[in-house]
Amino acid sequence: MNEIISKKNLSRRSFIQASAAVGGGLMLGFHMPDALAATISPKAQSTTTAPGTEINAWLVIDKDNTVTIRIPHTEMGQGGLTSVAMLVAEELNVDWSKIRTEWADANRHLRNNKEYKVMSTHGSQLVRLQHPHLMGAGAGARERLKQAAATAWGVDRAQVEAKLGVLTAGNRTATYGEFAEAAAKVTLDKEPEISIDPAKWWLLGKPTQRLDIPNKVNGSAQYAMDTRVPGMVYAAVKASPVPWGTLKSYNFDAIKSLPGIIAAVPLKAVPGKRGQPDLQDAVAVVATSWYRAKTALDLLPIEWDFGDSAKTSSAQYYEEGRKLMDQKGLVSGKEDPQTAEIIATSKKVVTATYERPFEAHARMEPVNATVWVQDDRVDVWSPTQDQSAPITIVADQLGVDPKNVYVHTIFLGGGFGGNGGGGTGVTRQAAEISKQLKKPVKVVWTREEDLAQTKQRPLSVAKLTASIGDDGLPTALFTRAMWASLDGMNQIGGATSDYGIYNIPYKVPHRQHERHNFKTHIPSSTHRAPGANQMGFMAESFVDEMAIAGGWNPLDWRLKMTEGLDDFQLVFQTLKDKAGFRTDLPKGQGMGIAMVESHGTIAAACATVNVSRRGRLEIEKILVVLDAGRVINPLAATEQCEGSVCWELSHAWTGGLDLENGRFVNTNFDSYNLLRIDQNPHVETIFASSGGKKFGGLGEPAGPPAPPAVANAIFYATGKRIRSTPFRQHDLSWT
């Protein structure tokens, strides 16, 4: 242990400074935009005291004109920290080099009736849905500064210009810093409008270096995993390998004499509670180091009762799913009985069944949480996409007032809807152990525990059937889909199992979609682009099947079937102009296209693949064209598109979790295979922005069209239609 940490009897103030000084979890970033000069100056969460005057909850202006912007959202690699700062700075109109940032205080948000409106970060919503109040915070501050100057100078507010941190009226001039105190006291009759016209933006829309990058090249960026607090002990945890199994017994005597072992703590599920962050039966081994805890846990004899879940497998789920494809399900939207009738009497019918397995988030930062329960307060370090969640989870677990639970915002080692400590039982585990042992506890799941127990993307099956008319276009489309979700959840995040199939834009005269929620014991949750990720593959592969059966070029088919929808036409036409899509390449080479709309953004992809005669797949290139309406940081947005494509190809090509005897056979990165650098295609991103009032998301939408584009390309390269993932399980050889 570090000498600073091992000092006894630290007061809270010195604890905060000490743990921060050794790189504890109390990181609070002061990210100067001068990338290489960036430093972290740690401060205690909930006691943020940026120097200067607070104009509103989002920003503080100092006399030296430094503007501190408080970031209510989390940074999981998506560029959210920078996006928030840009949205506020755009309206405030302040020199970007004068901006610094700190995390907003989640407890203040709680105390002041959701003062920051939303602190959760998910669903590609940050820019898409939160821009009005974030830009509004900047605009409101700017107008208050102008009013303060106007009052002092005896002119109208309209005569004062606010630009790059300087207020000007006639020959009078002052800095924002000079009027900050007066501005904080100004009341406006009405809050100003924000400017969403990209043509008028001076900062938004310009490629901007992300503020968190300098801390991520030298090991200084701190994650929940890196939390170190004085007197902390470590826990390794094992829940039932078949999720929701019951703990029968364990033999602590077998391990208690091993080095550094402190305790074994049984954790019990609450009957009837199987939601996102609920506890499963588990055993935690607590030790003076995590390696000691983990080593002892591996040796701990544990008996479980797995129940009937131990009889389940992926093969069985697929079999039952295929049976459901012939049974009526929940109808999405309006029933159209003519759909089935038209198909039944049609001369030409295309039908296909698609299947996709469970997938894991596999965030590079394994699930973990640190909780310190004291008499008067509880501190939580948890890799969560929603800082409000650990407050309520821990308060519920411990039966304490949420106002006394302090959550520390910290970088996340990936999010992807996995929500680390917010979406699993780990934060409750740490709270319970800390309460029992009266010590701060860091719980870290092994990668094996992480893959076995995090919330998975549902296994899915879909059957699609279309009748084709004389013009080669579909006259009716009947689709059924099933997903295997925990206890048959109908909705995961914002998605149901029809998402990605039911909401396709193509104008087929008659449509009916039905869905089945198949019950599993496997925990389920949102997974980057939920619904669109699994079902988008099925729908867009089948679009090619329909188009080709009708004698249409798949790109011309999509243009024809979206006539009159200007934003789709813009995306497809841009793809046509830029991709050089063709269907007449020599065998072994292929191009394929696909389009999936999600999170308010239309994303189309063109894949170029090479398949050797022996069936070795190379994905050479993915071109993505997106209409997100407007793009506030093209650099971060492009990075998100590159990452989203890689993410989806990881599942479609190399991934796939296999369930056998109620548990996954994939236990670590030797058996759950993610895309590696030598498999990653070149990704080119083009934004074809339709403007209007559209603010689309960009953290997720580029992923879903990539797998069907690749499968459609494989068809042209080999003549083989791929109707399940991962692609690695298919023989792609050709002669």
């Binding site: 968190d212 990668r447 670590n668």
Partner: protein
């Protein structure tokens, strides 16, 4: 058992079981948390460090085997993020969540120390053990090419 290790040029006394992986010695005993745990089985590369200048997975090196070796972690690669690989990483904007990037940078810097001007195939071979769940591979390739040109010009 007590060991004296040399980490980033400084002697460090640690008291751990001899088989304790260097990864956990660095993180939990010494407090150098830039080296990350991702899998524990040498399949993700998040814990990549330099041992006598060679890239190595800290999860696979026992503390007792590290005695007498020159251990370099991300914190010791440069004092001020001035290593050409770190500079290139910033210029290209490689990291997203950043969790794997210490390992990526240590693998890339070990490669360029041996091969100033690697081919793309050599870069892919050297980096294939390093997983990135955010999918920053394309920028990693660009940044290694940029760092290579910086090193050759230096």
């Amino acid at each position: 058992m007590k060991f004296n290790l040399t980490i980033n040029g400084k002697p460090q006394d640690v008291d751990v079981e001899p088989e304790t992986p260097l990864l956990w010695v660095l993180r939990d005993e010494i407090g150098l948390t830039g080296t990350k745990y991702g899998c524990g089985i040498a399949r993700c590369g998040a814990c990549t460090i330099h041992v006598d200048g060679q890239a190595a997975k800290a999860c696979q090196i026992q503390a007792s085997a590290a005695v007498g070796k020159k251990i370099t972690t991300i914190e010791g690669l440069s004092a001020d993020s001035s290593h050409p690989v770190q500079q290139a990483w910033v210029e290209i904007g490689v990291p997203q969540c950043g969790y794997c990037q210490s390992g990526q940078i240590m693998s890339a810097s070990a490669l360029l120390a041996k091969r100033k001007n690697p081919t793309d195939a050599e870069i892919e071979a050297a980096m294939a053990d390093n997983l990135c769940r955010c999918g920053t591979y394309q920028r990693i390739m660009q940044a290694i090419r940029l760092a290579s040109s910086k090193i050759q010009q230096a």
